[in-house]
Amino acid sequence: MIKFIGANKSFNNRLVLKNINLEIAKGEVIVICGPSGAGKSTLLRTINKLEPIDDGEIIVDGMYLSDPKTDLTALRAEIGMVFQHFNLYPHKTAIKNITLAPRKVRGLSRKEATERAEKLLEKVGLLHRRDAYPVQLSGGEQQRVAIARSLAMEPKIMLFDEPTSALDPELINEVLDVMVSLAKEGMTMVVVTHEIGFAQKVADRVVFMDNGEILEIGAPPDIFVNPRHPRTKEFMSSVFHIPVFNVNQEEDQDF
């Protein structure tokens, strides 16, 4: 579904992505973790070409991203993206936030788009808030609307860029619940997150990055409990404060 072949990218002569090789299968849930500045978000944003790469190749659903003929709007319509700061449109109500893209890009009628949006709002448990403006919603509610907004395009891939980092600890779970149910439905997901509990529950593979490089890829227990690379070991021990291996308490992660 997504394939990175030797992707490199630099900002101001500093390599932020170094020789990325990664293949993500359909229906797979990938969690990317690592210290800040490791290039996790950049990696995620190259998938829908919000950030172009300098060389190498990324193939998403058969489309070659370095090919200038690739229709970016068609590509991005197939890829949903959820941001750390929600980025809801503040001048539109929740339901209008969701219906905008389906109507303008997919050409749905107002009625069809509204029906679809209501279904999605129900799915994220916010149907009663359909006419609220983003400022009237809590962080968790905003993020759930943002997820519904991405799902309204019926994407094949969902990208999550630290979806819970800007939320109060008490609101994190409501967002994670939506993501877990999405993963169970078989959505292909790439998630940048620090939520180790979430990663353990739903991730098929975990990618550990530092300094723009992928240091380790493996199943969640391999990365979290038995990391091989010394940098991964160091990172995990600081994440869990002490080298603890049994992680069930999500509240315990403090960044």
């Binding site: 709007t73 991005r76 700061h85 980025n87 001048h91 905008l100 400022v135 009237q136 943002a146 991405s150």
Partner: protein
């Protein structure tokens, strides 16, 4: 009685040339300001948007235009248009259209800067969110960025409109009989009513300008829904500097006006 006598010419300030004639006075000021704002707005949006272009051959001419016009007194522009435009166009233009043209040239440059600031003020994430749902840049601009930019622009836009309205008085210099010119004519024809003439001019401008700024305040309040936290039109200095509230003797603590809009959501 004497006072009433002084103000007996009032209708000429409002409507027309003394003692009778075509439309003039305060009404002409309003017409000039409205016509200018309607015509120059689109020009300003185009100019401000092009000013943001990365292509130098689009950006530089716009920058040059904006910088030249903004660094020139309005009265110069009025003279340039008045003397050069008939020469360039090859026909005579009435003073009214000459005035509209010069005000438009002047207003477009200022509006371009307002538009540019408005577009830049929309957070970058908005465009990213719109693009990531598959919208083209044009659609994202039209449905996501510009609606928000226009809301951000409203306060500066309205305050510019007030100052533009006041600036319409400058066109009296080329003989447009708007409020200033009407007042001058009346004060010259009937020197015994000179004081009334200048008082009337002042009051005329004040009433309209004040009404527009009051309208602007209300509109701003309605638009404030997007940023209730930082919208504090009635904040006084003590609040701003985070000083402790002073208690006024013999009075209960007054309701916190500045936070009212924030609480009412």
């Amino acid at each position: 009685m004497d006072l009433l006598e002084q103000f007996s010419n009032i209708k000429f300030y409002l409507l027309g040339s003394y003692p009778q004639g075509e439309i003039g006075g305060l009404l002409l000021n309003i017409i000039l300001a409205l016509l200018t704002i309607c015509l120059s707005f689109w020009f300003g949006v185009l100019l401000g948007y092009s000013r943001l272009s990365c292509r130098l051959y689009i950006k530089l001419p716009c920058m040059a235009y904006i910088e030249i016009v903004r660094a020139t007194p309005l009265i110069m522009i009025i003279f340039w248009v008045y003397f050069f435009l008939p020469y360039i166009a090859g026909t005579n233009i009435t003073v009214f259209w000459s005035a509209v043209a010069s005000l438009c040239i002047y207003a477009a440059a200022y509006q371009a800067e307002i538009v540019r600031a408005g577009i830049i003020a929309v957070p970058k994430g908005q465009l990213e969110a719109a693009l990531s749902t598959g919208m083209s840049r044009y659609r994202a601009m039209r449905h996501v960025i510009l609606p928000q930019a226009f809301r951000i622009m409203v306060p500066s836009f309205l305050s510019f409109f007030v100052s533009l309205f006041k600036d319409t008085s400058t066109v009296f210099i080329i003989g447009v009989i708007e409020l200033t010119q009407a007042g001058i004519i009346i004060s010259q024809r009937e020197p015994n009513k000179m004081y009334a003439a200048y008082v009337c001019m002042g009051i005329g401008f004040w009433i309209v300008s004040f009404s527009i700024s009051q309208l602007a305040r209300r509109l701003e309040k309605r638009i404030g829904i997007f940023d209730l936290e930082s919208y504090r039109p009635d904040a006084c200095r003590d609040e701003f500097m985070l000083l402790p509230k002073k208690k006024i003797a013999g009075e209960e603590t007054p309701p916190d006006i500045s936070c009212r809009s924030a609480d009412s959501r």
